[in-house]
């Protein structure tokens, strides 16, 4: 036991003195999420504002119809109405970016409205521009005009406007804000936790196995009076710890990011903070612990097989996709935690984390997830220990 502690202590000291590992373990998870969230939110906000405030160039063909609508459009400060463009060239004009949109009122519009029929207005726009804001802004004006026409018809027919609403739906959503956010945004959290757990474990695993081989320190260490299993266990514990620390630090990063974004409604902010309360965090980390053990055993096995640090890096980096894939499946709608999905590694962590965050996790399924992960962690550690005993592995390329 004391030898294990000695090895663990040394490997941990060595690891946290490595700038690259320190960056991947602490700086990256702590800052990536806040930076991404703040930059993305600000960028989106400024683009939306720009699209909302932009004066739209609207080509209008009314042929003497819909005078109220024409008046509303021409009198609006946000639109610059352009007349005199032939109706059949609207599409081309928009594609050429000569105008932002076009409104073409049918020649018989007023007549149709007068006989209580439906008059046709064609709206040309490009949905791929400015978050579809052009359509929304013009639809608002046309919609207001339509409402006015409907109101006029009710007056003319001496009818109560309420007759078109025979049913009034009163909605009562019993899901708490925590649950709603947990089931939607909450899906993103396991994605981050699992990835940071893997990335946090990756560099120490490469450094403590392939790096040691390359530097020649592994050969020296093997001459010390400790068993290979003790050596492996010391390294393994450090890799597990760095993976977990990285995931835990990413939680701090998320909380920091959420607090930095100013326009999140207070009740939503409270819900996000409630999602990441101590109990939830402990429960999520307890899931990540066996997953981190699996990552550590697997990464160390790959790393010890590699001839050099560089080879280990090129062998391990593509595995990130293999890790991300089950997490992404967990984000698909309809994929929920059940007896089968609880057995699938990584996917089960993703789904269980989502349920834990939403506060809807079932104890039985959670225990199944734990059992599956502990079994996987145990098997992978056993495999790694066997792998570490092989001369062909340890002395490959040495």
């Amino acid at each position: 036991m004391s030898r294990f502690v000695t090895i663990f202590r040394k490997e941990f000291t060595d690891t946290i003195r490595d700038r690259r590992t320190l960056f991947m373990m602490i700086v990256f998870p702590l800052l990536l999420v806040p930076v991404l969230m703040i930059v993305m939110t600000n960028l989106q906000r400024s683009s939306m504002k720009k699209a909302e405030e932009k004066v739209l160039r609207v080509a209008l063909v009314a042929r003497g119809n819909a005078a109220v609508l024409v008046g509303a459009l021409t009198g609006h400060h946000d639109f610059r109405v352009i007349d005199g463009i032939p109706a059949d060239s609207m599409e081309a004009m928009i594609l050429r970016d000569s105008v932002d949109a076009a409104v073409v009122v049918a020649g018989d519009f007023d007549a149709a409205v007068a006989r209580m029929a439906s008059g046709k207005i064609r709206l040309f726009y490009k949905s791929s521009d400015d978050f579809d804001m052009v359509k929304r802004r013009l639809s608002d004006v046309i919609g207001a005009y339509e409402k006015q026409l409907v109101a006029d018809r009710f007056v003319k027919l001496k009818l109560d406007a309420g007759i078109v609403n025979p049913v009034t739906i009163e909605e009562h959503d019993v899901a708490s804000m925590k649950e709603r956010i947990g089931k939607t945004v909450g899906g993103m959290f396991p994605y981050l936790f699992v990835i940071f757990c893997f990335m946090g474990a990756m560099y120490p695993a490469i450094d403590l196995a392939a790096g040691e081989k390359e530097r020649g320190t592994m050969e020296t260490l093997l001459t010390a009076p400790v068993s290979r299993f003790q050596i492996l266990l010391g390294k393994f514990a450090v890799v597990v710890l760095t993976g977990l620390l990285s995931a835990a630090i990413s939680i701090v990063g998320i909380l920091f990011a959420v607090r930095q974004i100013s326009d999140i409604p207070p009740e939503m902010l409270d819900a996000v903070v409630a999602i990441l309360d101590v109990q939830t965090v402990v429960l999520v980390l307890s899931l990540l612990f066996p997953l981190s053990m699996f990552f550590a055993a697997f990464l160390l096995s790959m790393s010890i097989f590699a001839r050099s640090y560089k080879e280990a890096q090129s062998m391990i980096s593509p595995l990130m996709i293999v890790v991300i894939l089950p997490v992404m499946i967990g984000l698909f709608p309809g994929v929920t935690l059940g007896p089968l999905t609880a057995m699938i590694p990584i996917l089960n962590v993703s789904l269980a984390t989502k349920e834990i965050i939403a506060g809807t996790v079932k104890t039985g399924l959670l225990l199944e997830v734990y059992a599956s992960l502990i079994l996987l962690a145990g098997l992978s550690l056993f495999g790694c220990a066997r792998w570490f005993q092989r001369e062909e592995t340890i002395f490959r390329g040495v």
């Binding site: 530097r215 001459t223 009076p225």
Partner: protein, 255 residues
């Protein structure tokens, strides 16, 4: 004492290695060491001489319990390397040309780490540290990160690491390869000191100058087999050429 009895070490050969060895190599296994026997005694320096790839490192790795012999037995200080590996490692100090140090630790941390692995108590470690750090002149840079030290300083730390636990048996695997003259000399001095302290010293090299300077006993290994095994005096007596180097080349070419 090291007693090696009819030891063979066979490695399986990968497809890539087969390609590297050329078309004349047939089969999927290769004997890196073949039926080798020798004895290293306390207070004597046994030199293992051979060209690159002759099997020296494989032999030394088996003695240090890193590799298991495919057949035959090796006993170090009376302990079997396969059955009593930990006991063997307790009594052995192993040094390679590659310093094998952790760049992000200080010499103090590095040596303490190995002292802890060897199970040394604080008092013994303190005494031994003073003695060895003084002998090798490590005190002045004991607190600096190893990565920032010169190669000579690193080799001194490596030497300290090898002998901190006062081992009965010391194995040096080409310790002076790629080192400057001053540092090489420090290592040679230490090897001589180990002999004076009645330790068993096994030393592998391909530098002829070191052979005549240090050897009490000598074995020449070529393609995994010994082509000479005896005392250095016996080697000198049977020489048919003028220098150790010429004699070595003659024996290798004749084999």
């Amino acid at each position: 004492m090291i007693v090696v009895d009819k030891v063979t070490k066979t490695f399986s050969v990968s497809r890539q290695q087969r390609r590297e060895m050329g078309p004349e190599f047939k089969g999927s296994r290769i004997d890196a060491v073949k039926e080798v026997s020798f004895t290293c005694r306390p207070g004597r320096i046994f030199t293992l001489l051979g060209p690159n790839g002759a099997g020296k490192t494989t032999m030394l790795r088996m003695i240090a319990t890193m590799l298991k012999p495919s057949s035959g037995t090796i006993a170090v200080a009376g302990f079997d390397v396969v059955k009593e590996g930990v006991e063997v490692r307790r009594r052995i100090g192993f040094l390679t040309g590659n310093t094998g140090l952790y760049d992000r630790l200080t010499p103090d941390e590095m040596i303490k780490y190995y002292a802890d692995l060897y199970g040394m108590d604080a008092q013994t470690y303190g005494r031994r540290r003073q003695e060895i750090f003084g002998l090798l002149g490590i005190h002045e840079f004991a607190g600096r990160r190893i990565g920032k030290l010169s190669s000579g300083m690193k080799q001194k730390v490596s030497l300290a690491r090898t002998i901190i636990h006062n081992p009965d048996v010391v194995v040096f695997d080409e310790p002076t390869s790629a080192l400057d003259v001053v540092t090489s000399r420090a290592i040679i001095q230490l090897i001589k000191r180990c002999k004076e302290e009645n330790k068993t010293v096994l030393f592998s090299t391909h530098r002829m100058g070191e052979v005549s300077l240090l050897s009490d006993d000598l074995a020449i290994i070529h393609r995994g087999s010994f082509i000479f095994n005896g005392t250095y005096k016996e080697f000198e007596n049977q020489m048919q050429t003028r220098s150790v180097e010429d004699e070595f080349v003659r024996l290798v070419e004749a084999a």
